[in-house]
């Protein structure tokens, strides 16, 4: 099945090969190679790469629904953030009595808000398996409910895009509220350790990098399997002619809801891996602008190729890291210009250019 999925997918093969190489090399270069060596990878680079990989997985999830199902989701940041919050809640519980107020159960911000006991929705997050499950389930259930309702009512096109945006916007405002019990504007931060491993140690960081790379690789494979399967052909049919597919007898809304849910869960997974690497999760992750940016990564990389989405996410974010340091005062010109040029000159994204060259 995997072989069939990856056949005729040169870009994907290269992506997986690079990921495999990274999984093997990065821990060695970061942990075993001495600091003085030019080959040494600094913690900064490792966490940065790990963060990019999470973004790449998120972009792949968006490409699955946008490229193959025709749903332009402007709210995938919400699923990413929900996954992140699930992980963040676990990490908060792991702090235990090492918080600044030394309360054995309550996170610092609850002590500060004068809460006496843990709210019900925080129960269970002291167990990793539960948090991991919630990181997938919370976005999954939300996406299913939302998708099922919207697809059943045949909300399509820009209407669908805008209500996904309304979704993430509403969640952002909700999570900003201190009364919600998710730390308000500050969100969740000051994490100490994950499964007993110190989050500040280089080994944990390398481990998280490997986990992100594996997640991206497996996520990519799963998406590939879906799009090359019979189901995948139906999704493309829905994308190109929804009514016709429905008349043939497919239950369009079920298929759409299922793919949408799967994509949201991938986004949640990306978020869960992202949070321990950047050390903070807060409501600005729900910001509608973030979700628009994700779509832009996909477009820059090349829509409906999956690997293009990953490449786009890596490139744009690398560009952002670089530009904000090199031209702090003018980097938006560079980034904005890049978006305009890519749209005008490379309608199939950066990877489209490569495909074109290899074909020609």
């Amino acid at each position: 099945m995997i072989i069939r999925a990856m056949k005729d997918d040169t870009g994907g093969q290269i992506l997986l090969a690079v990921l495999l190489a990274a999984v093997l090399l990065v821990p060695i270069l970061s942990l075993a190679v001495p600091d003085s060596s030019p080959l040494h990878l600094s913690t900064y680079t490792v966490t940065l790469l790990g963060k990019y990989l999470c973004y790449a997985l998120l972009a792949v999830a968006v490409d699955l629904v946008w490229g193959y199902l025709g749903i332009l989701s402007l709210g995938h940041g919400a699923f990413f953030a929900l996954g992140g919050y699930a992980m963040g809640m676990y990490l908060m519980r792991q702090i235990g009595d090492r918080g600044v107020y030394g309360d054995p159960v309550l996170p610092d911000f609850m002590v500060f808000l004068d809460w006496k006991e843990l709210p019900w929705f925080w129960q269970g997050f002291d167990m990793f398996w539960f948090a991991a499950l919630m990181a997938l389930l919370a976005p999954g259930v939300l996406a299913y409910l939302f998708g099922y309702l919207a697809f059943r009512s045949r909300v399509t096109g820009v209407y669908l895009s805008i209500i996904t945006q309304a979704l993430t916007y509403a969640l952002m405002l909700a999570f900003f509220r201190n009364e919600m019990g998710f730390g308000g504007n500050n969100g969740l931060t000051d994490f100490k350790d994950l499964l007993g491993f110190d989050l500040q140690s280089d080994a944990t960081r390398a481990g998280l990098f490997v986990a992100s790379a594996l997640a991206l690789g497996l996520g990519y494979l799963a998406c590939r399997i879906i799009v090359t399967s019979r189901l995948g052909r139906v999704t493309v049919a829905i994308r190109d002619a929804e009514s016709r597919t429905r008349f043939i007898g497919y239950r369009v809304e079920q298929i759409k809801a299922a793919i949408f849910t799967f994509s949201a869960m991938l986004a949640g997974l990306a978020g869960a891996l992202y949070v321990p690497q950047v050390g903070i999760i807060n409501p600005s992750e729900f910001s509608p602008i973030n979700s628009i940016e994700i779509v832009i990564w996909v477009a820059v990389g090349g829509r409906a190729t999956l690997y293009g989405a990953a490449v786009g996410a890596l490139m744009v974010n690398y560009g952002k890291s670089l530009f904000t340091a090199v031209f702090p005062d003018a980097w938006l010109f560079a980034l904005g210009g890049l978006f305009v040029l890519v749209t005008l000159l490379l309608p199939r994204g950066l990877t489209g250019l490569l495909r074109q060259r290899s074909a020609g």
Partner: protein
């Protein structure tokens, strides 16, 4: 066709170059001391933070004119965290790990500080944080040169009580600084005998722009026959529409004065201040303060920005104090090594701009005078009240149940940011 294929080549080529560039480490020149500047230059916080970036650049330039530090030239490294909180952590790591800066001047919002805090603690860097904040924190690696709640909020409320205010509206943006300040104030007011029904607390989101209903509520609350005042912890951006609405709905400072903790000269420079004359602000510095130090500073600022209309404000003074204390500490320690500077800086003093001295305390906060100013027609504040002596910053509030037994002391033998004086133990963030 040829041109477009050329452009494609360029885009492709630069893309590849970028992807390779990632592992090239920055090479630090040994003959300079690097100073990191971590302020948002784009995004929502840019309106406030770009001024602080310019301030640090000016301070670095002036220090270099005086011969630098330890015989070396200072070099400012500016990055843009773009008002994006995770990016703050990334950029902090970049400054400390890649650029190996000796100290970082930066952050504005509490969440940005919280975001970079673990990075500074892990990599043992130094952060000078120049903005008034909620307290409840003291890190070995952070110096808080802005006001703690006891250096701003409580004296302001005392002043208003003295002016006969009996009814209070505590209005703030919904985030941790207003929440803490209002909690402290609520406890303080109740302790002073203010009844529950005489306190109205209201929170609004960031950048709130439609204040019609809230201002109308304040007006109704204030017409109950008792002298009413509004204590505003409304954050930067939202203030302009708030004050415009106040002015238009006819709430004058004589009826219901508003005392703000986040409105300074910079924020007022976006508003027509005529209807706002008499509303108050509590700070530790005003541009209008008449001292020779302040006149020199303003002159230098105007020369640096080449704009004689640019205003100065409280966080700028905080950066000036922080920078001077750091420079003194580096000279005293003879090195820029974090641990040495951290110990050397405690107890050092430098003149502030209001005619007193700012001293770095063992809890990493500084001493500050508290000034209360009334808004004038020209957008400046006239000082109507000030503390006779400087007030030492208190990291842990005495009015919050969780923190009243805590204290911070980074000198031997305690060396702890949250030391419980009852159990005599250090919780959580010990000196590493």
């Amino acid at each position: 066709m040829r041109i477009s294929s050329l452009i494609r080549q360029v885009v492709l080529g630069s893309g590849l170059a970028l992807s390779l560039g990632i592992t090239v480490p920055g090479h630090a020149a040994d003959d300079t001391i690097k100073v990191g500047v971590l302020h948002s230059l784009s995004g929502t916080m840019a309106i406030s933070e770009t001024t602080l970036k310019d301030t640090v650049l000016m301070l670095v330039e002036e220090q270099n004119k005086k011969g630098g530090l330890l015989g070396k030239e200072l070099e400012a490294v500016v990055v843009d965290p773009a008002s994006n909180w995770p990016l703050f952590a990334e950029k902090a790591r970049e400054l400390l790990e890649k650029d190996k800066v000796a100290a970082v001047f930066g952050c504005w919002t509490s969440v940005s500080r919280k975001s970079v805090l673990p990075v500074f603690e892990e990599l043992n860097g130094l952060l000078f944080y120049p903005v008034q904040y909620e307290g409840e924190e003291s890190s070995k690696n952070v110096f808080y040169t802005g006001a703690a709640p006891n250096q701003q909020a409580i004296p302001a409320v005392d002043y208003l009580m003295d002016q006969g205010v009996e009814r209070w509206v505590l209005a703030g943006t919904d985030y941790v600084y207003p929440r803490t300040t209002n909690k402290i104030l609520e406890a303080y007011l109740k302790q002073k005998g203010v009844a529950d029904e005489d306190i109205l607390i209201n929170y609004t989101p960031f950048g709130h722009s439609d204040w019609q209903s809230i201002v109308s509520d304040i007006k109704k609350f204030g017409s109950a026959g008792k002298k009413t005042a509004v204590v505003s912890t409304i954050n930067g951006d939202a203030n302009v529409p708030f004050y415009k609405e106040l002015g238009n709905q006819g709430i004058s400072a004589e009826n219901i004065p508003v005392v703000a903790f986040s409105v300074g000269e910079e924020e007022l420079s976006g508003i027509d201040t005529k209807p706002l004359v008499g509303h108050l602000a509590a700070w530790n510095y005003f541009m209008s303060v008449d001292t020779p130090e302040n006149a020199t500073f303003i002159e230098a600022w105007h020369a640096f920005t080449k704009d004689s209309k640019r205003v100065t404000n409280d966080p700028m003074e905080a950066h000036l104090i922080g920078f001077n204390l750091w420079a003194k500490a580096v000279e005293k320690a003879g090195t820029t090594d974090t641990d040495a500077v951290e110990q050397a800086i405690i107890g050092l003093e430098t003149p502030n701009l209001t005619g007193g001295m700012a001293k770095m305390l063992p809890n990493h906060h500084i001493t500050k005078p508290v000034l209360i100013g009334e808004i004038q027609e020209d957008g400046q504040f006239a000082v109507v009240w000030e503390t006779e002596e400087t007030v030492p910053g208190d990291a842990w509030s005495d009015y919050l149940p969780g923190s009243k037994d805590l204290k911070a002391d980074w000198t031997a033998p305690i060396k702890c940011g949250n030391y419980n004086t009852k159990t005599e133990t250090c919780l959580g963030s010990e000196g590493m």
